[in-house]
Structures are given as structure tokens and as C-alpha cells.
Symmetry: C2
Subunit: 92 residues, 2 copies
């Protein structure tokens, strides 16, 4: 079962609903919120709003990883982009 949520530029509440439904309807023990570049701030907002406002602290942050990836852009230049992965899990 895919419990990853990739954050992009859809409406904010789409992502929060996605996280909340993974824990409720699909009964996942964990959900991983992933984002790159400028969407990293949004990933943190999604994690905070989902856990604190909607899941009422029945879920909390279990792990946070940051990393960066190098790739070539359209002009052939080497660029780097940062990545975040926030793992939310049900409290015991």
C-alpha cells in the first residue's frame, strides 16, 4: 500500500485530506509526506495541520529526513534541489 503523499501546488487542503484519510479510512500506521524545493515549507504545514488540528494529536512526527539531489536542468547546468521526508505515525 502506498502511504506516500507528495506535496505540490494543488490546493492545501487536498494534501491534508490525503494524510487524514490514510490514517482513518485506510488505517495506515504511518504516512510519509515528501516534498522538494520550495514545497518543503508546505510539507511542514501539511504535517502540522494534519497532526494537530485534524488528527488531534493521535498522530505525531516519528522521523524527519532532509537530503539533496543534483540533476541537470534544461540548459544543461548542474543544479541541486533539497528534499524533505516527514514520517507521521499513530501514537501507541
Amino acid at each position: 500500500m502506498d502511504n506516500n503523499i507528495f506535496i505540490g501546488n494543488k490546493p492545501f487542503m487536498n494534501y491534508v485530506t490525503g494524510v487524514v484519510m490514510q490514517f482513518t479510512t485506510k488505517n495506515s500506521p504511518e504516512v510519509v509526506i515528501k516534498a522538494r524545493g520550495k514545497f518543503i515549507s508546505r510539507a511542514v504545514d501539511v504535517a502540522e495541520v494534519s497532526a494537530k488540528r485534524f488528527l488531534d494529536n493521535t498522530v505525531s512526527v516519528k522521523d524527519i529526513k532532509i537530503d539533496s539531489e543534483g540533476f541537470q536542468n534544461k540548459e544543461g547546468r548542474d543544479v541541486r534541489v533539497s528534499i524533505i521526508e516527514i514520517t507521521l505515525g499513530k501514537n501507541q
Copy 2:
């Protein structure tokens, strides 16, 4: 000694230089990079570029915390802002 670096809208390299100097000139064992709201993505970029490009992996991420704070804006509305704290530390 203050080893916190608060990320805002100054030029990107100011923050990277600040982190690198804490570890080199000031010989700090740890530096904490802090940011709120939209500056969170930038904090991750500063951590990644400092550790991987400038400090050549002699430093790595020791801890990452996220949180959110509620406050009243100028119009008296309750708003929430997300926070990140990334702790970089020297490798043993």
C-alpha cells in the same frame, strides 16, 4: 555562545557563511538553523549546502524538529505558522 542562525530574506550565502564560520572560526560543535513559514525551504537549502558543499561532510544533520505557533495577526485573527529547527553537528 549563540550558535543559532535564523533564516530570513538576506542573500542566501550570508546564511551559509554564518553556519560555516560557526564551525570553523568559532569552533562550535553544533549549529542550530531556525526558520518559520516560507523560510523553512530555505533553511533546508542552507543546511544542505553548508554541510555537503562547504564543510565537505565533516558536519551532518543531528536532529530536525518541526512545530507550529499560534498568534494573532494585525487584524486580530488567529493564525498558525510552522517552525523548523535543524541541528548540524561535527562528525566524531
